[in-house]
Subunit: 438 residues, 4 copies
């Protein structure tokens, strides 16, 4: 975790106090169910919840001090709780293993992190939607291979981004379900010393599903699927970030990251306004993506469990979710405030002297009876002049002056082929497919 | 693709002839719809389908020869088809781009590959299910950290594998839906020269969903999600493969890959029977996993599209699906024929002199009124003797001879704590959670 | 391996016949040394070499047929050789294991592959060098963040690429040394049944170093280092490919991949000339990079060896080297034939109205006694006008007309600050650092 | 960075104060050289160094507060220094860019981190060496595929580990040289406003090499090579960690991680002593390995530079070096204190009833004139009985009782083939190859 790429709400999920609170709730819920089953006295559960009602502060330092001696984090915590609650606390943790607590806690943390990420994605989707509507019909050149291809609208560019993040949102909902499970199944997961109904009870209280079969640990294919999903989302962030970086290039300059009035891009060069936020996002995407690899390697634990996954998760649990949360928020801000320059888009569209319409003229000539070969030759000989003039000449004017062309098409017909709006007749169709209606 | 790790049905999907057949179907369906819309004559579509009815062979070499000159694979193909069909073929491909054909074809190929993979997974699940039922109550030692922990059953080990692959199957169904989309939207995806209803028609004919917004290409976050899912499945294959490799270790030998009667593990050492199939699967899992990375890097194409994804997909499209198909089939065979040795499992279970029951004695002593500290001390002093004897002494016998212990628990009560069946009382509960009922 | 991304010399290294030839040479050299040691009769070695002198064809199909029965590739090969050579062949392979042959063969193959790759890099370096000298003083705008920064030369861009590939070459030399080792140490590597001098002899004959300690297999950290090095080289290929893709963008167009006279970028749009080769290279770089991951995971073999590395190497051995060989050759061709447009570079340099010189004016004003704050204000107020005019106004002209500026600097002094050559005074220094002298 | 996997000396390198101190030194050295060149007055350099002589505390909070306003870390730092030093500080940073400071600082940090890592590796090598000598002749079974193969010694296992880490050390020395370069070349790296001799001077003062050609940034292929090297080292750590995990398995138990006297493996089961340290190292290795991927993706910066590498390096710079430092130290401790059980090794060696010697009997029979087929049959029929008895029968005794065998070999000859020492005759040869002599 890099502090400058972290926001407090997400960071809080991963702090020791938050973790200990989840530990307590798992233990207290389990004790309650054990009491209902008659395995332990009701007084044991009551004592825990009574203390909890007092909203006690968790003394992280005291627990750490115990762990330093005991070398066991869960036992250290239980000891500390017992000191606070008194002898009735001895009924906690009956028949459970540390992993029951640790893995279920990770499930709660990742589920909460996912909820924040889903909020982030909703905000991002809203920002993209707003800007897409704003520029639904703003003409801009579509580019394949970085080369001018045919016209599109800036709204369509954003519609694609919306659809992509909408898919990412659905993937995240599915990924959240992957990891939101509760396991309270005891050593090697046989429920030998704890009834399965305890697991069901705790799961319900924590808003988790029951893990159908655990082996002391929750199986790590779930986490592999989860972090792989974050990697896909990061890649989509990278795509939009790269798009904006391209648009801000000096020669293109169709959009720019917002600069605050007093901000300086460079101490020496007043013209420097760099897309540093989206470059920064590009790097963050690389990191989030990389966290999928160790998560995938974590799957093949030995037999019922080993603990090699644990050190990995101490890194990627916080790092992947905190960084993704930051990245989504940063991207939302970038989209929200993006400076968009329709005039420059039009200027770029026009800079090729109308070459972007060459395909339509070609089709019109063939429909007017010219053979395809001939039509291609006619268009090409004029297009090449425009190309060689670097867009100083106009394709339309040259065509109008070409007798072989005008033998097939009238000036009015030719002009019609240079109508930008032709390209936009299905913009509404696409918007209707992509955006929520109503 | 490594030929020895390839099976014909999957390989066939990726062969040139199969690809060209899909190309033709896309073109012919699109032409049919264009004819229905009145954009091209019905005779154009009819000519294509009439020719197709003759079940013509695709002359891959002839098409390749054209491509060598034209340097454009789709145009080469269209030219060749036109030669076969005659002049009516000129109505093909109206308003379409090559990407419409190429990306939709990849969708069909990956969807078909997924169908084979789903069949593979069904076979694997069936094999695991059968062996799990067979060994539902076969006692075996559960191991955490590679160290004996508490008893479980071999059926439970397989139940975990079943649940894991069942999740993988659901993930694959979702991943198949990710990539099974059709895009026929023309240059930069605006439908400027082709009606969206053509896309809808072709999609329906090919069993695909409509891509809501394409930008000449189908967005690659879909493929990133797809290949990441294959990576997760590969990791689950690795987990089961590693489990079997562990079980076959000389000192463990609770299970073995099947050896055909005449097979030799080593020309020199008759005792050598190596888990080479699961080791082989471990390596294949590493490969399939690695293909997720370039798929994730493919997402951030430039603007409406660049073609950097293409060379990646020429590798990983075939390699990931062919290798996973092979790996699933190999694993199914391994599970199906796995030699399972219950006697050895029992022997290993017993080799620690009953130490695996120490926790139950501890709990029983505390329930009989001994303080926890004292109970631990009593169990430990006997357990340590067993441990030091490397399991030659019996914990039960030592406890029966320990007067402080027998002051709290009768011999019969002690014997009850060494009852293996105690650990298996919830095996049916777990099986009911995991396996399909009925 | 994708055939279209493969060249014959590299592919040949990985073909069965080539592999069998190396197998034979290892066996024959080892038999020779065993004969010299008196372990086997000299006639045994002589019979092998006599047969080899006849330049016999390797009957791959016959060997494959044997392997199908024996399920052991090395034994199948030895049997086939024995049939050709006669009874004297029985002295082959004394005290050796299959791994001795297989691992040493992989070393020979990777060393040969490295030699081809080094030739590729030499060709690439020569091409870059030639073009760098050609454009040593061709002015072009340097860009940070995709934004115009300060002038540089196109030669300097290429000098950086040269230095980078020169480092890559040195890394490849080191990586080749990593994997060019010979192990002939028998089962679990103890030399129990074969004298270490055999290993030394064979190593010398094959141009390999002796593996100091093998454990039946050559340790895979060597291969991990090797394939990681290829990944770094691939990333450098990607860097230069991305640079060219940027330069070819429509709005930039300072360089273009060569187009053959008859080539068409698009059937419809004559202006389309796409950087497809460098996009293709970008994708190939992603693949080569990804192969490092399974190579790294191969390191942790179990105990003295398992065979999980083998299936990985059947993929990445050929795929990484063949693809990198192709990519280096393709990049060399791209660089060699790159269309470079100095006029367009100059035009782009000038398009900001001289803003790229603002830093020098700022420094000159401060050196002339203006406070830094004041100087910044003076430059900025003129620079902003130029910026807002999109480069239509000239910074020099505005400064000359600004009385506060001219109070500090004369017109001649101002003009001097707009001298491009100022930026190039150390071009030769850098060239002398980078390029081989003499 | 996970605090529990961090050691103070390495962490200190990455703390803000350490970074700012390097920044100051770069600026002060550069100012000194500029003074020597006559570009700035000597008083400028003197003022800086005079202040530095007072060993001033770096007020990180004050600098942070400035950055919050200025949004530029280097300017914030320079302002703060100027406040401390007074007006003479205005001569700092003349002609330099922020990247000159930042990239050279990263070089210093990575070089220092490498020095710590080299010390770590020396300690690890020393520990392995000591234990290897201690067990140079301790017999143990060599295992291929996890299956007993032939005898080796525990010292040889450790000799392999030594050789592997010795290679890793050499790789790290090379990787350190990759990143230990200094760039002070100004905007886009042309030295337009700063003389190359300043770079040379600062490089020498900081113990760095001169970067031959930078483009405002040091090229990131260097860092890709560096972090890839750390990934290889991590994989070698994983290999030794996995070996120890295998050796500690209950059924093997040939070695164990050290347990302190009072330590408890489990609150319930006194027999539980888990290899948690090496499992923990396995997970850390996965993390360090994963950091190579974003480092490789960082290479292809746009044009002269973008800043996407920066956010990646804020993660992996500290995380990779801190975690590797911790992992090397932890592994050193594990090796140093490893509990090694020669008796158990011997017991495991013997558990197969002498089967591990079957190859030697086979060879002896053939040398005694028995055909290979017959010899194999004779050995196999006795070996199979041993195998089926799970090692309760003795191969030697059975052979002695087999008349067909004794017709060829005397009992004494047979006994000779069961001599363990036969396998160890080249142990010294291998040790001489691997370990430093003297």
């Amino acid at each position: 975790m890099v502090p400058r790429y972290a926001r407090p709400a997400m960071t809080a999920i991963w702090e020791p106090e938050a973790r200990y609170k989840i530990w307590f709730e798992i233990e207290a819920h389990a004790t309650q169910k054990l009491a209902d089953l008659g395995v332990v006295p009701q007084s044991g559960a009551k004592a825990l919840w009574d203390w909890w009602q007092t909203n006690p502060a968790i003394d992280v330092a005291a627990i750490d001090a115990k762990e330093a001696i005991l070398k066991h984090d869960v036992i250290a915590f239980l000891d500390w709780v017992a000191e606070q609650v008194g002898p009735e606390a001895r009924f906690m943790h009956q028949g459970m293993t540390s992993s029951d607590v640790l893995d279920t806690t990770l499930a709660v943390q990742l589920a909460r992190a996912s909820d924040l990420l889903l909020e982030d994605m909703d905000a991002l989707l809203a920002a993209i939607h707003r800007r897409a509507e704003e520029h639904r019909y703003t003409p801009t050149i579509g580019r394949s291979h970085g080369i001018h291809a045919e016209p599109t609208t800036f709204g369509l560019k954003l519609a694609q981004a919306y659809a992509e993040f909408d898919r990412c949102r659905a993937r995240l909902v599915a990924a959240r379900a992957e990891i939101a499970t509760c396991a309270i199944s005891g050593a090697v997961g046989t429920f030998a010393n704890i009834d399965p109904s305890v697991e069901e009870y705790v799961a319900e209280k924590l808003g988790l599903a029951v893990e159908p079969v655990s082996t002391q640990v929750i199986p790590r294919d779930r986490h592999a699927a989860y972090f792989s999903t974050l990697a896909v989302i990061a890649s989509s962030i990278e795509r939009l970030a790269v798009e904006i970086r391209h648009l801000q290039r000096t020669e293109v300059l169709e959009a720019e990251e917002y600069f605050s009035p007093g901000q300086k891009g460079s101490s020496a060069m007043p013209h420097k306004r760099n897309p540093v936020l989206t470059e920064n996002l590009t790097g963050q995407a690389r990191m989030i993506r990389s966290y999928a690899m160790p998560a995938l390697e974590n799957v093949a634990l030995w037999h019922e469990r080993d603990i090699s996954h644990s050190s990995v998760e101490r890194f990627i649990g916080p790092d992947a979710t905190i960084t993704l949360d930051f990245a989504l928020a940063r991207l939302t801000m970038v989209v929200d405030k993006l400076l968009i320059y329709p005039e420059r888009m039009q200027k770029n569209l026009d800079r090729m002297g109308g070459l972007v319409h060459s395909q339509r003229v070609l089709l019109a000539l063939t429909q007017a009876g010219v053979t395809r070969d001939n039509a291609y030759r006619l268009v090409q000989r004029n297009a090449m002049k425009v190309w060689e003039s670097d867009g100083q000449l106009s394709l339309l004017e040259l065509l109008k002056a070409d007798e072989e062309v005008t033998a097939a098409l009238t000036p009015a017909q030719l002009e019609d082929k240079f109508n930008l709006d032709f390209h936009f007749k299905h913009v509404d169709t696409i918007f209707a497919r992509v955006f929520p209606q109503g």
